[in-house]
């Protein structure tokens, strides 16, 4: 299934510059937020927010068409950190 991913800050460098952090990704049915981070090889401490949520747990199971926003951990802006993880 396909989900839409928006990467912020230095996470944008995972994608080609022209993408400016936006991409559509194919993920397996039943994939979680944690699986998505593995797939993107994100090793940083991050904050993930799916659709309209302020933060989303790593165990959340992704749905077709989900909009997933991923931020790096930043102090002043890290208003909702609990779903984040540190590899």
């Amino acid at each position: 299934m396909q989900v839409e991913v928006k990467l912020h800050g230095v996470l944008r460098e995972i994608l080609p510059t022209a993408a400016k952090g936006r991409t559509q990704l194919q993920v397996e049915e039943g994939s979680t937020v944690a699986d998505l981070l593995e797939q993107l090889a994100i090793r940083r401490r991050v904050l993930v927010a799916v659709n309209d949520q302020a933060e989303t747990e790593p165990a959340y199971v992704l749905q077709e068409g989900d909009h997933i926003t991923i931020f790096t951990a930043v102090s002043g802006g890290a208003a909702h950190h609990s779903s984040s993880r540190h590899f």
Binding site: H8, G9, V10, R12, T17, K20, G21, R43, R44, R45, L47, A49, D52, A54, T69, F71, T72, A73, V74, S75, G76, G77, A78, A79, H80, H81, S82, S84
Partner: protein, 644 residues
């Protein structure tokens, strides 16, 4: 003389042109370490109680720290301390750059400035020699021009200059001290204090580096930080600057919008760090932002400062004046309902040219915009300037008018609290201030412990005086290092969060005294842990410095400030939060309806006082607390006797 220091403090009386050099004992250095605490020592001892902050009796103290000028990252910091003309409380402000390290190389740990020169002067400090020189030809010049003239006059391109711009000369109450034409000791109006003394600038140059006790250990720590940087949380700060936080702040509903009426700005992406990186940083047209569009402080691996260049359009920006920080993007941007990053960068350029704090300047304009939008200010008041939210061109125009005290800008140059008091007509209800200082761009509605820190902080609302709430949950291992082992749920506002606020406040307070950058050593923005900060201090001084000693240093500095305020007649009555934060829920976004529970806040403010060891009725440190911190001498002066 202790390792790491010059062992020399410069005293200047501008009224008498007397220059003295003091060599304090080692015990003095160990107790205060540097920066803010060291400056407070002199402010408390040498300035009389109850003075006008712009009177010649005010004492302006400028101090570097023990690590300043060594090779480790995040150490080139300067703290300015004096009575604040904005808050009438203790004033305190930090900045980085190269001036702090060069001051150490020039032979001094700090400068204590008293009196008032009879005409504009500047100080020239080179290799331990000091001169007071005529600055009549520099008066009225913008910072970049004055700096260039000094370099030519002193025939040395490598001097470092700390100066005021026209705003400081004009006694704008939130005028800043500026170095490199783009670094600001921005908060609490230290530039107005310097201007009131007819002191335009301080130029420094030197070749002596204080001796380090264990150079090998310090270099090992330095290399470890550089190696850890690419994988650290502070890496993104280096690349995108503090502007990196615009988007996550907005996502959390914590980006101040329309003068704190909302925490969500529909156009946040237009003023984000990513947009600045892609379009406005120097070198963006050649994909060379990382080499051209970033700047640094002395010997720092992070390189978080921005360099913006705009050549075309209505808002051309000269890269000499740097680029906007997060606070600047938010206060001139979302706070004012403005989504034009070029205009914000232009406002930032004017603040650096004229020498003003971008936070107070932007937030004061936002106050005027809300008052205007609500009909409490009219075109007659503003001299015909339309100040509805989002009036981009007029915002930029007003910044210049404030710095030069022209027209309506003359009123706003007093700061929003004094302006509201003068205008009346209900404009007070739009104020976002604590102790008359405009509130930074972090919202207590989504970080509740900040509500008590903003109110009680001795120098007015400040976002860099304690760790922000989510860090307790997010960095449990780092918080445990300073004894915080009970993380609380999201938005918790309780006694444990007050303990979190106080303990992290002590660490931040220590960082402002040992004088290091909070982005490098802070509990959350961390390249080095608190334990590693203690190790660095041990390596430089040879003293057995511990984390506990650092926390006590921070507590000592905080209590010195509260004692100073008590002397000036400020206490619990001044520890207030803007009424709007209690009465009006935020509108829209993920923080829709959020406000602070007033009754809970009152109880927790008292709890915070108790944790601090302060009298709950007055908010003043007890004699027992001052004795415990080794500063009982303050109670022996008139500081607390007047308060009692």
């Amino acid at each position: 003389m202790p390792y790491g220091y010059n062992g020399r403090v410069l005293h200047i009386d501008l009224s008498t042109e007397q220059i003295q050099i003091e060599e304090p004992p080692d015990s003095f250095y160990r107790k205060y370490m540097g920066g803010s605490a060291m400056g407070l020592h002199y402010l408390l001892k040498e300035s009389p109680a109850g003075i006008d902050a712009l009177a010649s009796e005010n004492v302006l103290c400028l101090f570097a720290g023990v690590l300043t000028g060594t090779p480790i990252s995040g150490q080139s910091r300067l703290t300015a301390v004096a009575k604040s003309p904005l808050t009438d409380a203790v004033g305190d402000s930090q900045s980085g750059g190269f001036f702090p390290a060069e001051l150490k190389f020039a032979g001094f740990d700090g400068i204590v400035i008293k009196g008032k020169a009879s005409k504009p002067v500047y100080l020239w400090i080179k290799d331990g020699q000091v001169e007071i020189r005529d600055a009549s030809h520099l008066w009225g010049k913008i910072t970049g021009d004055a700096e260039a003239m000094l370099k030519e006059e002193l025939e040395d391109e490598r001097i470092e200059v700390l100066q005021i711009g026209p705003a400081g000369e004009n006694l704008v109450r939130f005028a800043a001290l500026i170095s490199m034409s783009n670094r600001a000791n921005g908060r609490t109006g230290m530039g107005a204090v310097m201007g009131s003394k007819n002191l335009k600038a301080i130029a420094v140059r030197g070749a002596s580096k204080p001796e380090i006790a264990d150079r090998k250990k310090l270099l090992a720590l330095t290399r470890a930080g550089t190696k850890a940087f690419p994988d650290s949380d502070v890496f993104g700060l280096g690349k995108y600057g503090t502007a990196e936080v615009v988007m996550p702040q907005n996502r959390a509903g914590g980006l101040p919008t329309y003068n704190f009426n909302s925490g969500t700005f529909a156009h946040c992406e237009d003023i984000s760090g990513e947009t600045m990186f892609d379009n406005f940083l120097l070198g963006a047209d050649r994909n060379m932002q990382n080499t051209k569009g970033r700047d640094t402080c002395y010997s720092c691996t992070v390189r978080c400062k921005r360099v913006v260049e705009i050549q075309e359009g209505p808002y051309p920006v000269d890269p000499h004046y740097g680029g906007p920080e997060y606070e600047t993007l938010a206060t001139f941007g979302s706070y004012c309902g403005i989504d034009d990053l070029a205009a914000i960068a232009k406002a930032n350029e004017y603040c650096n040219k004229l020498g003003m704090d971008t936070i107070s300047c932007g937030a004061t304009i936002a106050w005027a915009m809300e008052a205007f939008s609500e009909g409490a200010l009219t075109l007659q008041d503003t001299g015909g300037i339309d100040l509805h939210f989002g009036q981009t061109e007029n915002m930029v125009r007003l910044v210049q008018m404030i710095g030069r005290r022209e027209g309506f800008g003359d009123l706003l140059a007093e700061g929003s609290a004094r302006a509201a008091a003068r205008v009346g007509r209900g404009t007070e209800e739009f104020l976002i201030v604590s102790k008359k200082q405009e509130t930074p761009a972090h919202m207590p509605q989504v970080k509740p412990s900040l509500s008590v820190i903003y109110a009680t902080n001795p120098f007015g609302s400040d976002h860099q005086s304690s760790e922000h709430d989510p860090s307790y949950r997010f960095y449990p291992e780092r918080m445990a290092e300073i004894g915080l082992t009970d993380p609380q749920p999201k938005l918790a506002f309780n006694e444990e969060m007050m303990r979190f606020a106080m303990v992290t406040q002590h660490l931040y307070s220590a960082m402002d005294s040992i004088n290091v950058c909070q982005f490098v050593y802070g509990p959350a923005w961390q390249l080095y842990s608190a334990g590693e900060l203690a190790q660095a201090a041990r390596a430089v001084t040879g003293w057995d410095v511990s984390v506990e000693e650092l926390l006590e240093l921070g507590e000592r500095r905080l209590n010195m400030m509260r004692a100073y305020n008590a002397r000036e007649g400020l206490g619990k009555n001044e520890d207030q939060l803007p009424e709007k934060m209690f009465k009006k829920g935020l509108k829209g976004g993920r923080s829709d309806g959020y406000k602070i529970d007033h009754q809970a806040w009152l109880k927790l403010r008292d709890h915070y006082y108790r944790l601090c060891g302060w009298d709950v009725d007055s908010g003043t440190p007890t004699r027992q607390k001052l004795d415990q911190l080794g500063i009982g001498w303050i109670a022996g002066t008139d500081a607390l006797q007047q308060a009692a």
